[in-house]
């Protein structure tokens, strides 16, 4: 459905030339939950931004439903790590921003935004300024803002990276539930291995310098995941171990 074909990305800083991605090829299947896992600076976020059309590949291409992707697609939604809700708009108006860009009439915008807020359990705070919300609630608004466009693909860039553990686990369950309810394809960037195992159908492992995909794993655990103890599951523990070994985290710590 979403094909990443030989994508490379190089950018220049005044000091040096950075090879963020080298020849990455990966197919994302319709309806699956795919995570990109790897250490910081291995190109996960760069690839996600390329998938959203926020950045362009230096080489290679993205094919979305048989057509080469150029620029921002209306069928792809993005959830940022730094949510950056606009403080001069209330929560509902923040969710409406993508609909405004599409020229949706005001009444419809309002209805769709409230519906999206209801999906993340926030219809009660539709009219408050975003800076009065907790970090977890703001992140939910970020999800609603993307969902309001009814995207076929939802790209999420370490959306829970800034949250405390309790909020993070609650939101993981909520995202998992939303995903199974809506059937949206999700591409999820994280450096938290447990989070990736809990949420994903497949996990692409990234390694850095230059950034590349070194393995793609099938998680193979049954859904829904929130109904059993994923973290204590033997298969999950083994997978966690092999991912950590593969990414070389152990070796680096020992050396």
């Amino acid at each position: 459905m979403l094909e990443i074909e030989h994508v490379s990305h190089v950018y220049e800083t005044p000091q040096r030339r950075v090879e963020a991605l080298r020849d990455v090829s990966l197919g994302i299947r319709e309806g699956e939950f795919m995570s990109f896992v790897g250490p910081s600076g291995c190109g996960k976020t760069t690839l996600l931004r390329i998938l959203d059309g926020l950045a362009e590949p230096s080489d290679g291409r993205i094919v979305f439903n048989g057509r080469e992707l150029t620029g921002v697609s209306r069928d792809i939604g993005f959830v940022f790590q730094d949510i950056n809700l606009l403080p001069w708009r209330n929560v509902r108006e923040n969710v409406e921003i993508g609909l405004e860009a599409r020229g949706t009439p005001a009444a419809d915008r309002r209805r769709i935004a409230l519906e999206a807020l209801r999906m993340v359990g926030l219809e009660d705070v539709a009219n408050v300024p975003p800076y009065t919300l907790s970090g977890g609630m703001q992140q939910r608004v970020g999800v609603a803002r993307a969902l309001a466009l009814h995207p076929k693909v939802l790209l999420m860039d370490e959306p829970f990276g800034h949250l405390d553990n309790f909020t993070r686990e609650t939101l993981q369950i909520e995202i998992s539930k939303l995903w199974s309810k809506l059937g949206t394809t999700v591409v999820f960037v994280t450096h938290d291995v447990d989070e990736a195992i809990f949420l994903s159908d497949r996990i692409a492992l990234f390694q850095g310098k230059p950034g590349r995909v070194t393995d793609v794993l099938d998680v193979g655990l049954p859904h829904p995941r929130w109904e059993f103890n994923v973290r204590g599951d033997t298969r999950a523990i083994e997978m966690r171990e092999s991912i950590i070994q593969h990414l070389g985290v152990r070796d680096e710590v020992l050396v």
Binding site: D52, V72, L86, E100, Y131
Partner: protein, 268 residues
């Protein structure tokens, strides 16, 4: 050991309670010393708070202050608001169009760096000794800070907001209207405050240097007559212009842009 801790806490408590009163106490102390100095200092030097207050009351009850005050206010409001409006307008153009910015910025930076009092003779050559000269001078001195701040505000939009606009497909016009302009408002307001402060200075200076009118006329007249009490009463009124400016900008921000304080508090 614990005894020491308790003692320290007891000593700390009253000072914390009195702390909010400290500024008022400092002002009262200075006023008291000033008043006391009147017992042995020549009143022409610095007068006394009580005498100045009395003169202030007289300026009002005898109606001496009203015409000059009205003249000053009129110049300030007309010259200042045209200057601020033009500054924001030009700033928006320079912020929006790289070309305009490149062409205008050498002139803007040069004039902003110039202590503009020096152009008063030129202004008089242009439009003669008249109210127009005073208005033109206030306009010219007001323009720059708000202009430069508007440009800076549009150039320094939080990268994350721009990303959001791009990811959600905003057109260039919408990006400007819905992201760049609102994000620049805090800068613009700060520029307005500085510009309005300069407008007040421009008002007084032009009333003293171009032609004697308004509060500038009163200042010069009382100064030349060694009426120090009245002179300082007018100085006090001039200070109130500055205070009103700061309060007005604060009010505009709190009333129309409450999100500025809200978002800033969240950053902390």
């Amino acid at each position: 050991m614990s005894g020491i801790v308790v003692a320290q806490r007891r000593r700390a408590r009253p000072s914390r309670k009195l702390e909010p009163l400290l500024p008022a106490a400092a002002v009262a102390a200075v006023l008291a010393v000033w008043q006391w100095s009147g017992l042995f200092l020549n009143p022409i030097l610095i007068s006394t708070p009580a005498a100045i207050a009395g003169d202030l009351v007289q300026l009002v009850t005898r109606g001496v202050i009203f015409d000059p005050l009205a003249e000053s206010l009129e110049e300030l409001v007309i010259g200042g608001s045209i200057g601020i409006a033009a500054g924001i307008g030009l700033g928006l153009l320079m912020g929006r169009y790289e070309l305009v910015d490149k062409v205008l910025s050498p002139f803007v930076n040069f004039l902003n760096a110039t202590p503009l009092v020096v152009i008063i003779p030129l202004v008089i050559i242009w439009v003669g000794i008249s109210q127009n000269a005073r208005l033109l001078f206030i306009f010219l001195i007001t323009l720059w800070p708000v202009l430069l701040n508007t440009v800076a505000g549009m150039r320094n939009v939080n990268r994350g907001y721009v990303d959001v606009g791009a990811a959600f497909g905003l057109s260039e016009t919408d990006m400007l209207r819905k992201i760049t302009l609102p994000a620049a408002v805090p800068y613009i307001l700060a520029g307005v405050r500085v510009s309005a402060g300069l407008a007040i200075i421009g008002m007084i200076v032009s009333e003293m240097e171009v032609s004697l009118t308004g509060l500038g006329y009163l200042l010069i007249t009382y100064g030349n007559s060694f009426l120090t009490g009245r002179l300082l009463a007018v100085v006090f009124i001039s200070s109130m212009f500055g205070v009103a400016n700061v309060m007005l900008v604060k009010w505009v921000q709190a009333t129309f842009f409450p999100w500025i304080a809200g978002a800033a508090a969240e950053q902390r």
